[in-house]
């Protein structure tokens, strides 16, 4: 889960990571009056969106006084509640402006190829790290262990170039080493994939604050990460795909809101490939789905949910079912599909089914009763989808 900055800072605060004081404000300024009463002086307003490059997209604005915040919110979000690059704004973080600090960079990330933790440190933060010349960036690898990671940060800090020996350099080294200790422990405790602090504010006395926080957690660890689970329960709407997977056990992503073909598919790779192949033929799939037929266990609930979600597709004209079953009994699956279609009458589109696997004959019989013909060849099923869309066969 790629956390919004505000959520990341709140989660990190529980692990002793300091940040400038800040408050959450809704995407239309909801809650602004309540929080503005406690504020004074210059503020920074930061749009909460997924991913980086927020500053370049006009999502960060400094204001001289809290009274200017409402206008700044309107100017960032515009009438559509989106950033200039189209990303939807989940809300805003209002933060007091930090003065008199140097800006550094520190990140910890799982390096899958090395199967270790990659530490990256730079005394030049505050800009996109890919713009920082390689000579200013020091990297180390460490095994997954808080003290080893903290040591790796200290080793990297000792190698930072161009710092010199003045009081600024001493403060920088002290702050980065301290931040490394705290963040290494947080990284392991939170089972993070990435914690990137950029800028990391360094004060003349060696103190530090997380100016920004990019945190990616591990969805597979949600079962034992109570605070992350609580965040999802509290703010699931901000993390729709993760929330859906957590609650429903399947992956569903709308890939084209104007799509015409609903996909009831299992398996991530095959579902992705099917979307690619449909698009290559000029067809418009609506969604990606890995329904995980192996996890249905005789209950149509998940299929009902999925079909229900698809009713949001206003241009949907056909449903393509593609199940390559290694072991799933297709007879049982067909009966669950039958129940699910029955339970979602709002999804009034023709169904094309392509099934391979054990229990095929029973499935054919079951679906024939609904007027659904079963194909075993995927390319032929796609040709049938074309027919249903009223397009000539390729």
């Amino acid at each position: 889960m790629f956390l919004l900055e505000h959520d990341a800072k709140q989660l990190l605060a529980r692990h002793g990571v300091p940040a400038p004081g800040g408050a959450w404000v809704g995407p239309r300024g909801e809650g602004l009056d309540a929080c503005a009463a406690d504020l004074s002086g210059p503020q920074v307003l930061k749009a909460q969106v997924q991913g980086g490059g927020r500053g370049r997209a006009g999502g960060i604005r400094k204001v001289a006084s809290p009274t200017d915040l409402a206008a700044a919110i309107e100017s960032i979000a515009g009438p559509r509640g989106r950033l200039g690059d189209g990303r939807p704004i989940a809300g805003f973080r209002v933060e007091s402006v930090v003065e008199g600090a140097q800006e550094a960079y520190l990140s910890l990330a799982v390096d899958p190829a090395a199967a270790r933790i990659r530490v990256m440190v730079s005394a030049r933060g505050g800009v996109d790290i890919e713009q920082v010349a390689a000579e200013w960036l020091v990297q180390e690898l460490a095994p997954l262990d808080p003290s080893a990671v903290a040591r790796a940060v200290r080793t990297a800090v000792a190698r930072l170039p161009g710092l010199g020996h003045g009081p600024h350099a001493a403060a920088m080294r002290e702050a980065l080493a301290a931040a490394g200790d705290t963040l290494a422990a947080a990284f392991v405790d939170l089972e993070a994939q990435l914690i990137e602090i950029n800028p990391l504010f360094v004060f003349p006395d060696g103190g530090w604050l997380a100016g920004d926080a990019k945190v990616v957690t591990d969805d597979s660890a949600l079962g034992r990460q109570g605070a992350q689970r609580a965040l999802l329960e509290r703010a699931g709407a901000r993390y729709e795909d993760v929330d859906r997977k957590w609650r429903h056990g399947c992956d569903y992503v709308v890939v084209d809101p104007d799509g015409e073909i609903g996909l009831l598919t299992t398996g991530a790779g095959l579902s992705m490939m099917l979307i690619d192949e449909l698009r290559a033929r000029g067809l418009k799939p609506y969604n990606f789905l890995d329904v995980r037929t192996g996890g249905l266990r005789g209950d149509p609930r998940r299929l009902v949910d999925v079909l229900q979600w698809m009713t949001a597709g206003s241009r949907l004209r056909v449903l393509l079912v593609n199940i390559f079953a290694g072991i799933t009994d297709l007879g049982e699956f067909a009966s669950l599909l039958d129940q699910a279609l029955e339970a979602v009458p709002a999804l009034r589109v023709p169904v094309v089914a392509r099934l391979v696997g054990p229990g095929l004959d029973a499935a054919r019989e079951q679906l024939a009763a609904r007027g659904i013909e079963v194909e075993t060849d995927l390319d032929r099923a796609v040709a049938r989808v074309r027919e249903r869309l009223g397009e000539p066969c390729a």
Binding site: F2, Q50, G51, V110, D111, P112, A113, A114, A115, R116, R118, A134, V138, Q139, E140, L141, P143, L144, V188, E191, Q193, D218, D219, S220, A221, G223, R224, D241, D251, V253, V255, T266, G267, A268, G269, L270, S271, M272, M273, I275, D276, E277, R279, A280, F288, D290, F324, A325, G326, I327, V356, G357, L378, D379
Partner: protein, 317 residues
């Protein structure tokens, strides 16, 4: 830069186990199933045995379990290995139990572990990888349909309808996409020499690149079908390894997710792109530079494999 991996994605510690990836599995390799009394274990142990695998035992903490379908059940790995001489284990336990199960297998001297379970926490995967490397063992997984030497043995879930002995080596992240590809290959009269599902998680035991030297040496493999997907750098690492070695066998690649939206995890935890990182185009370019033929569709990939093997009779998809 202190490490070459930031630039190339390749790292010295990348090899699966200190001794590198190796695989010597046939119908005589004694295999145990950890978690054999669970839902998946009860179902798959007999199916693996039916595919030729020497399933010699199972492990279960359940005190009342003596046997499953005639397969003796032991209380722990050490007892199972002592009684059966098992060399390999298929671990069919819940995602948060995989780490302990693999540690137990390694302690008992198992040198090949296959963990199909999806959803193993990433930090657990890193710890498992470190332990497997230290033990000089090989780990296939997590989130993998497993591996097969068709006609000899299968360790995992690969469907029999997609399996047949033949000349094609398959390396795949995705289960279902490889099932579909294997099925079409078999229909085209092209079986497999070895099929290794490395899994769709970002943290794993064996990566595509680890397989390159092995496939290069593997006598019955005449061509390799690489089935990748967007996200991560495994396809690029594979390409770099193929390019740097005298691989000597044709490589056909099929990469899923060309039109997937950025920044969204597509089902597999590892299948996510950020900006230009992990994109289809980056993988295609790297693979093409290494001399691989990158195909846009399943029918095209099957035809390309047929041509690479000089089997012009492969039917047109």
């Amino acid at each position: 830069m202190t490490e070459s991996s930031a630039a190339t994605g390749i790292d010295e510690s990348n090899a699966a186990g200190a001794r590198g990836f190796r695989l010597a599995v046939d119908r005589h390799t004694p295999v145990i199933v950890q978690g054999i009394t669970g839902r998946a274990g009860r179902r798959h142990a007999p199916m693996m045995r039916a595919a030729g695998t020497a399933i010699v035992g199972g492990v279960s903490a359940r005190a009342d379990a003596r046997e499953v379908e005639g397969i003796p059940v032991f209380a722990d790995c050490a007892q199972a290995v002592q009684a059966t001489g098992a060399r390999a284990s298929v671990v069919l336990v819940g995602p948060e139990q995989v780490q302990a199960a693999v540690f137990e297998a390694l302690a008992a001297g198992i040198d090949l572990v296959v963990t199909p379970t999806e959803g193993v926490p990433l930090h657990d995967a890193l710890r498992i990888r470190a332990a497997v490397t230290a033990a000089g063992a090989v780990w296939i997984g997590a989130s993998t349909p497993g591996l097969a030497i068709p006609g000899e043995a299968k360790l995992g879930f690969l469907p029999d309808v997609s399996l047949a002995p033949g000349p094609v080596g398959i390396a795949s992240k995705s289960g279902t996409l490889s099932y579909e590809a294997g099925y079409r290959l078999v229909q085209a009269g092209l079986g497999q020499s070895a099929w290794i599902g490395v899994g769709g998680d970002p943290g794993k035991g064996t990566r595509f690149a680890d397989l390159v030297p092995w496939f290069s040496r593997h006598g019955t493999t005449e061509a390799v079908l690489l089935i990748g997907e967007i996200g991560g750098t495994e396809e690029e690492e594979f390409a770099a390894t193929v390019a740097s070695a005298a691989f000597g066998k044709p490589v056909v690649a099929l990469i899923a997710g060309r039109t997937a939206p950025g920044g969204v995890s597509m089902g597999h935890a590892g299948a996510i792109t950020w900006g230009t990182h992990g994109t289809w185009e980056a993988k295609r370019d790297a693979l093409e530079r290494a001399g691989a033929l990158v195909c846009a569709s399943l029918p095209e990939a099957v035809r390309a494999i047929g041509r690479a093997l000089g089997r012009q009779h492969a039917p047109r998809g």
